[in-house]
């Protein structure tokens, strides 16, 4: 049984800090996804777990072992690289079996384990080939096979699907989910693709600038973002933001207004605001609907008709541009004025420091 525990992990290169104090605990068997923009430190964090990067300060526990100074091979981990990193001079069979060979596993045992892994991944026919004779998807399988065969407590994936084409990526995503179910091991997965994060994760860790922004179940992050960064990062297309002023407060409801929105009442943590405050309002493009009595008015500047939905760029009176996703097909013309209703139950308010003001549940 191996969960992970990070205590105040820090990493600096020379004098440049890249991981600035990460605390996190991962339960055994959890599928955890690290997301964030490039350079946020998610890969560095993964490599610190693997033992490929030193830990500058803090503690890394894998299971009940303090692993800061433990060799990668003794950490009970396996890793799948973005580039697959298959050894080009070895056959698939030897690639998968290399770790076992180094561990001096006896030959029959090794053969059995390699063939088991090959069967799980349906690549028995490929065992005698060299990596150069494989397609991208096949290489991916071999890389995963190399990880499985070590029977690790923790699997580490570094953007494993980013080199595959879109269709294959969807297939492999599903296979990974199934693999997680079958093996029941802890998996830590780094990606910048939020669809992968939303679909695979039990728990998402959003990182930015070497700091954890929020940890939670995918749907929580979508519905209850902790701050402006998470709100903007999770969900596609991006959340729309506008500056608003608090008009009145009534119990847990705050009514806000701006140049563009005549007035909206939002459930929020009203204890942390007062009338007259300037806040940021966020609303997702999908939560705006055509409504002749709506509180939002704007001019159409660009329309993308996808058939099942229509993406509209809306020019607001303040000059800001919002994106609206309307259900079904709408034949809209440029500069046409639209009146929209804001679904106030999905609106999130943020204070000046960017922290969200969600009503307590």
């Amino acid at each position: 049984m191996a969960g992970l525990e990070f205590k105040a992990l820090h990493k600096t290169y020379g004098s440049v800090p890249v991981i600035k104090g990460v605390d996190l605990s991962v339960d055994h068997g959890e599928f955890v996804v690290f997301v964030g923009p490039s350079g946020c430190g998610k890969s560095t964090l993964l490599r610190m777990i693997a033992g490929l990067e030193d830990i500058t300060s803090g503690e890394l526990w894998i299971g009940d072992k303090l692993c800061n100074d433990v060799e990668p091979r003794d950490r009970g981990i396996a890793m799948v690289f973005q580039s697959y990193a298959l050894y080009p001079h070895m056959t698939v069979y030897d690639n998968v079996g290399f770790g076992l060979k180094l561990a001096r596993t006896d030959k029959a045992e090794r053969d059995r384990k390699i063939r088991d892994a090959a069967r799980i991944l349906q690549m028995e026919a490929l065992l005698d080939r060299k990596p150069s004779q494989l397609s991208g998807g096949q290489r991916q399988r071999v890389a995963i096979g190399r990880a499985i065969v070590r029977q690790p407590e923790v699997f580490l994936f570094d953007e494993p699907l980013s080199n595959l084409d879109a269709a294959l990526r969807v297939d492999m995503r599903m296979e990974l989910a199934k693999l997680h179910q079958d093996l029941g091991a802890t998996m830590i997965y780094v990606t910048h693709d939020q669809v992968e994060a939303m679909t695979l994760a039990d728990k998402i860790v959003v990182l930015n600038g070497g700091v954890v922004q929020q940890v939670g179940a995918p749907i929580d992050l979508y519905q209850r973002p902790a701050n402006l960064f998470v709100a903007g990062f999770i969900g596609s297309p991006k959340m729309n933001f506008a500056e608003v002023t608090v008009q009145s407060i009534d119990g847990t409801m705050a009514t806000v207004t701006s140049k563009d929105i005549s007035s909206v009442s939002v459930a929020a943590d009203t204890s942390r605001m007062s009338v007259g405050d300037t806040l940021t309002l966020g609303v997702r493009p999908h939560h705006l609907t055509l409504d002749a009595s709506g509180t939002l008015v704007g001019g159409v500047s660009l329309v993308e008709r996808l058939g099942n939905e229509t993406n509209v760029s809306l020019k607001l009176p303040s000059g800001a541009t919002w994106l609206v996703v309307l259900d079904g097909d709408h034949n809209l013309r440029g500069s046409q004025a639209l009146q929209l209703a804001v679904d106030s139950s999905t609106v999130v308010l943020f204070d000046k420091t960017g922290q969200s003001l969600l009503a307590p549940r």
Binding site: A50, G51, M79, F81, A85, H89, L102
Partner: protein
């Protein structure tokens, strides 16, 4: 139209290259087939009678089979120094490409210096005498290693730089110990550049004349190049034997050329472009 022009050009090029580059070799071969009186004329003529075998026997048996000793010496020097060069240069090239430290600048400067600066001969002899290496085969081997290291290191470093670091890391995760990464992952992958290195350095060391001349005096240690040089003064009337000797020492590079032409060209151009 174009086709005919290219054929005419081709024929002209073949004729020109034949006169300039092939005839000297044919001359060598013809001379090696002649007997002593005819070879003394030094003209481009058909040999009267087949004397190659006699000439060969005479060249090989002269001065107590010195030619055989020389071939053995040259072979030993070439094989051992090339083996050392491959292993040592691959080790340096690997760490130099992977580990970025402040030392790298200095090391690269020393490598470039080694490619450009001619060795200081007499101080080297003086040092080798102190180390009891002067005039010995193993001393000669170490000299060839020292002088040819920079080129081999440059070849290896450039090649290691093209191997993704992910492979090292995958091996570490797989449980490879430090030396496993080099010997089980990197070294096997370096095979193409190792072939190039072996071929290019073998030809160079086998053909080396200047360094054995300085560091390997004395007949019992002579290399084939030295033997040929000594024959020149000894046989200045027996051109048939002189050219038989030349023919003999041209055979090893010819064999290498026939089998490894591509690797030689690749190595010389790659090393040159980097150097």
């Amino acid at each position: 139209m174009k086709r005919r022009a290219s054929i005419i050009g081709g024929v002209a090029a073949i004729a020109g290259s034949f006169v300039v580059f092939v005839i000297p070799f044919i001359f060598i071969i013809l001379m090696a087939f002649k007997d002593k009186p005819q070879s003394a004329l030094r003209d481009f003529s058909w040999p009267q009678g087949f004397h190659l075998w006699d000439n060969l026997v005479q060249v090989v048996t002269t001065r107590n089979w010195m030619m055989i000793t020389a071939f053995i010496n040259s072979a030993l020097i070439t094989v051992i120094s090339v083996t050392l060069l491959v292993v040592l240069a691959a080790m340096v090239g690997f760490v130099l490409a992977r580990r970025k430290t402040r030392m790298n600048g200095l090391i690269e400067f020393l490598i470039l210096a080694g490619l450009m600066i001619p060795p200081a001969v007499v101080p080297t002899i003086w040092l080798m005498q102190g180390l009891k290496l002067f005039g010995t085969l193993h001393g000669m081997i170490l000299i060839e290693v020292a002088y040819n290291l920079p080129f081999s290191i440059i070849l290896y470093r450039a090649f290691v730089a093209t191997i993704p670091r992910d492979l090292d890391e995958a091996a570490i995760i797989d449980g490879a110990r430090p030396l496993d990464v080099f010997f089980r992952i990197i070294l096997p992958m370096l095979w193409p550049v190792t072939v190039t290195n072996i071929v290019v350095q073998s030809v160079g060391i086998f053909n080396d004349f200047t360094n054995p001349l300085y560091y390997l005096p004395g007949n019992q240690n002579a290399t084939v190049q030295l033997t040929l040089y000594n024959f020149q003064s000894q046989y200045n009337t027996s051109y048939n034997l002189l050219f038989t000797n030349i023919l003999l020492i041209t055979v090893p590079p010819l064999i290498v050329f026939l089998f490894f032409n591509r690797q030689i060209v690749a190595g010389m151009t790659a090393g040159a472009v980097k150097g």
